[in-house]
C-alpha cells in the first residue's frame, strides 16, 4: 500500500470524520450497574441453539423428507395404473395354506369429488397373501378393477414374494366369474373396469395370464405388470392386451 493510495482515499476519511458522534443514554450507568448486580454477564439471546444443531436440523429434515419420497418412488416403479401381477411359476404345485381369514384393507372407502377410483369393499384374503387396492384404474368412481401396487409394497414388508390368488386378481380387474374345469369363466364384467375396457366379454374363459395357465389353484406374484390375457371365445383362443 502506497502513500498515494492513502491520499486518494483521504476524502472518504474526512467524510466519515464529519459524522455526528452519538452519546450514550443518560441511564447507561444504571443499566450496567443493574447487570453487574445480577451477578453475571447477560447471555445474549437467552436460549442458544448450538451451531451444529442450527445447521444440521434443517438438513436432516430435508434429507428425511427427500429420502421418504425417494424410497416411495423406488417401490412404486411402473405405471400406477398397471396392475402388477404375474403368474406364480409354482402356481400349480402349492397353493398357500389358508389361514384364518381376515380383512385387510389399506384403502378405506372414500368419496372424492375428483372422481378418482373408490374401492368400496374390502377383500378377504389369507394371511399369506396381501390384497389391497390403492391406485386408481378408472376415472369412474363406480368402476371396478384396481391395482395391487400397494399390496405389492405391503407384501414386501412381510413376505419376499407376495402371492395373490388368481381369483382375487381376476376379480380386481373386473372379470367376475368362477373357475370351471377349463379355466376362469367370466360371468360379468364391471363397468369401465380393466376387463371391460380390454374387451373381455361375458362367457369368455380365461386360460392364461401373461402366458401362464390359470387354474383355481394358481397364485399370482405381484411384481410383474399384467399385460396379456388369453381367453377362449366361441371355441377359439383370443389374445387380449390389457388396456389401462
Amino acid at each position: 500500500m502506497s502513500d498515494e493510495d492513502l491520499q486518494n482515499n483521504e476524502p472518504v476519511s474526512r467524510l466519515l470524520g464529519e459524522l455526528k458522534h452519538v452519546e450514550a443514554p443518560s441511564d447507561f450507568d444504571f443499566g450496567v450497574r443493574a447487570r453487574i448486580a445480577a451477578g453475571r454477564p447477560a447471555e445474549k439471546g437467552g436460549f442458544r441453539i448450538p451451531v451444529w444443531l442450527a445447521y444440521g436440523a434443517p438438513l436432516a429434515l430435508v434429507l428425511a423428507v427427500g429420502g421418504y419420497f425417494a424410497l416411495n418412488s423406488f417401490y412404486s416403479v411402473g405405471d400406477a395404473n398397471v396392475p402388477v401381477v404375474a403368474l406364480n411359476e409354482k402356481a400349480n404345485v402349492a397353493a398357500p395354506i389358508p389361514a384364518p381369514s381376515r380383512e385387510v384393507v389399506s384403502a378405506p372407502p372414500v368419496t372424492k369429488p375428483d372422481d378418482q377410483l373408490v374401492v368400496k369393499k374390502p377383500d378377504v384374503v389369507s394371511d399369506s397373501n396381501v390384497v389391497a387396492v390403492k391406485k386408481p384404474i378408472a376415472k369412474d368412481k363406480n368402476a371396478g378393477g384396481g391395482s395391487i401396487d400397494l399390496a405389492s409394497r405391503v407384501g414386501r414388508r412381510f413376505h419376499a414374494t407376495p402371492q395373490i390368488p388368481a381369483k382375487t386378481v381376476l376379480d380386481l380387474i373386473g372379470a367376475k366369474g368362477s373357475f370351471e374345469a377349463d379355466g376362469w369363466r367370466v360371468q360379468s364384467t364391471t363397468p369401465n373396469s380393466l376387463a371391460e375396457r380390454s374387451q373381455i366379454q361375458t362367457g369368455d374363459v380365461i386360460e392364461s395370464v401373461n402366458g401362464q395357465t390359470v387354474t383355481d389353484k394358481s397364485t399370482l406374484r405381484s411384481n410383474t405388470p399384467l399385460k396379456t390375457v388369453r381367453v377362449r371365445r366361441d371355441g377359439k383362443s383370443v389374445d387380449i392386451v390389457i388396456k389401462n
Partner: protein, 210 residues
C-alpha cells in the same frame, strides 16, 4: 473551639477547590480491583460514549449498540482481575466491544439463515451485504441524522466486517494504526491495507458525496 471549626472548614474548602488529578486508566482499574466502585464509574464516564458510538457505527442500530456497550462494561467488570496492563485499557475495551459486535453480527446471520429467505441466499450475497442496513427509524430524536449521514452510515454497515472495524476505529473513533492493529490482533501492514481497502469500497459507494 471556634478556631478549630474554622480551621477544619478551611481545610475542607482547600481540599475541594484543588484541581483533582486525573487518574490513568490503569490506576482506575487497580482501584476498581480493590473495590473502588467510583473508579469504575469514572471508567464508564470516559468510555461509554466512544464505545456506544463505535458499536452504533458498526451495527447501525442505536438500541443494540447501547445494549452491547453496557454488556462490554459488564464483561470488563467481571474480568477485571484478568486484565493485564501491558495493553492500553482502550485497546482492551475496544477489543471486547468488537468481539461482542462480531458475535451479534453472526447471531443475526444465523437468524437470517434460519429464515426461509436466508436458506437460499447465495454466498456472494452474504459477502456483498455482510450486514444488511437497518432502516428502522431511531427512537431518540436527537439521533435522527440527515439523509446524507444515513446513507453514509448504511454504506459503512454494508462493508465486510474485516474492513468495517478498522475503518470505523480509524476514521470515526480516531484510534491510531498501532492501536487498531492491537485491537484486531493483526500486523500493522495488514491493518493499514484493510483500512485503505475499506475506504476504497466506501469511495465507490459514496462517490456522489465526495
Amino acid at each position: 473551639m471556634a478556631h478549630d471549626i474554622d480551621t477544619l472548614s478551611g481545610t475542607e474548602v482547600s481540599r475541594t477547590s484543588m484541581p483533582e488529578e486525573k487518574r490513568s486508566d490503569h490506576a482506575l482499574i487497580e482501584a476498581t480491583k480493590s473495590g473502588d466502585e467510583a473508579a469504575f464509574g469514572e471508567i464508564m464516564d470516559r468510555y461509554r460514549s466512544p464505545i456506544t458510538n463505535y458499536l452504533y457505527r458498526f451495527l447501525n442500530d442505536y438500541e443494540e449498540a447501547v445494549d452491547l456497550a453496557q454488556e462490554t462494561f459488564v464483561r470488563v467488570y467481571f474480568a477485571i482481575d484478568r486484565y493485564h496492563t501491558q495493553f492500553a485499557f482502550s485497546t482492551y475495551i475496544y477489543r471486547i466491544a468488537t468481539n461482542l459486535a462480531i458475535s451479534e453480527i453472526r447471531r443475526r446471520k444465523r437468524r437470517r439463515l434460519m429464515s426461509l429467505t436466508g436458506l437460499f441466499q447465495s454466498e456472494e450475497d452474504t459477502q456483498v451485504e455482510f450486514q444488511p442496513p437497518d432502516t428502522r427509524k431511531l427512537q431518540d430524536t436527537e439521533l435522527v441524522e440527515d439523509e446524507r449521514s444515513q446513507i453514509i452510515a448504511r454504506a459503512i454497515a454494508a462493508l465486510p466486517e474485516k474492513y468495517r472495524i478498522p475503518v470505523i476505529l480509524r476514521d470515526i473513533e480516531g484510534r491510531s494504526y498501532d492501536e487498531i492493529a492491537e485491537i484486531m490482533q493483526l500486523g500493522l501492514g495488514t491493518t493499514k491495507s484493510r483500512i485503505n481497502r475499506g475506504r476504497g469500497l466506501l469511495k465507490e459507494k459514496l462517490q456522489h458525496y465526495l
